[in-house]
């Protein structure tokens, strides 16, 4: 069965650089969520989209923005990166109540 695809899987950036993370949901899933998991922490909700519209917003810094495109894939844009942004970024998709997670993008900011 098709799963959620995230790219890239690993990303190394320097402070003050920008990064773009991509998420391709499971086919026919219309809702995408982004979560951030810091080292040794639980995942924290950032933002979600339903039918290409932002549906909810969590603790997402103003330096981050995201959108969902007509083909339902989503991109998380991160600017002015800080050391504290180093984390595992998950995308999850759903067409109902069960969220299926992608493998994550590991972002390291040096």
């Amino acid at each position: 069965a098709a799963g959620v695809i995230q790219s890239p899987r690993h990303l190394i950036k320097e402070k003050r650089e920008t990064a773009t993370l991509k998420c391709y949901p499971i086919p026919r899933h219309d809702t995408v969520y982004w979560y951030q998991q810091g080292p040794g922490q639980d995942p924290q909700f950032l933002i979600s989209f339903y039918e290409k519209m932002q549906s909810d917003k969590g603790s997402i810094p103003d330096r981050f923005s995201a959108q969902q495109f007509s083909d339902y894939h989503s991109e998380l844009n991160m600017s002015s990166l800080e050391l504290g942004d180093s984390a595992l970024y998950f995308c999850a998709s759903t067409s109902g109540y069960e969220q299926y997670f992608g493998p994550g993008t590991r972002l390291t900011v040096t």
């Binding site: 339903y50 969590g58 109540y97 969220q99 299926y100 997670f101």
Partner: protein, 119 residues
């Protein structure tokens, strides 16, 4: 706001034995879902089991079952016949129900329980 508490940071179980992971939550809502997710060393988040709050019957998925006590706001996970592949971090998660199924209900996670299965 909802909170999810997992009071056991680490647990250990002998292979083939049974182990129970605890989870409590706090909410003023009446309609919600509860989940257990497994995160093995690969860091992939894998859905283990879900429970709808309106259902009295406890959910079961093969060796995994839950004990859902709505009044006590408790949602424990029982793993029977533990296997080495069950070694992972386990997260309890809460999701409030929105009027529409896909209107952006985020998951609120507990801090996790690290389970080690000993051979």
């Amino acid at each position: 706001a909802q909170t999810v508490t997992q009071s056991q940071p680490e647990m250990s179980v002998q292979e083939a034995e049974t182990v129970t992971l605890s989870c409590t939550y706090d909410t003023s809502e009446n309609n919600y879902y509860l989940f257990w997710y497994k995160q093995p060393p690969s860091r992939q988040m894998i859905l283990v089991i879900r429970q709808e709050a309106y259902k009295q019957q406890n959910a079961t998925e093969n060796r995994f079952s839950v004990n859902f006590q709505k009044a006590a706001k408790s949602f424990s996970l029982k793993i029977s016949d533990s296997q080495l592949g069950d070694t992972a971090m386990y997260f309890c998660a809460f999701m409030n129900l929105a009027p529409h199924p896909s209107s952006g209900d985020k998951l609120t996670f507990g801090t996790g329980t690290r389970l080690a299965v000993r051979p």
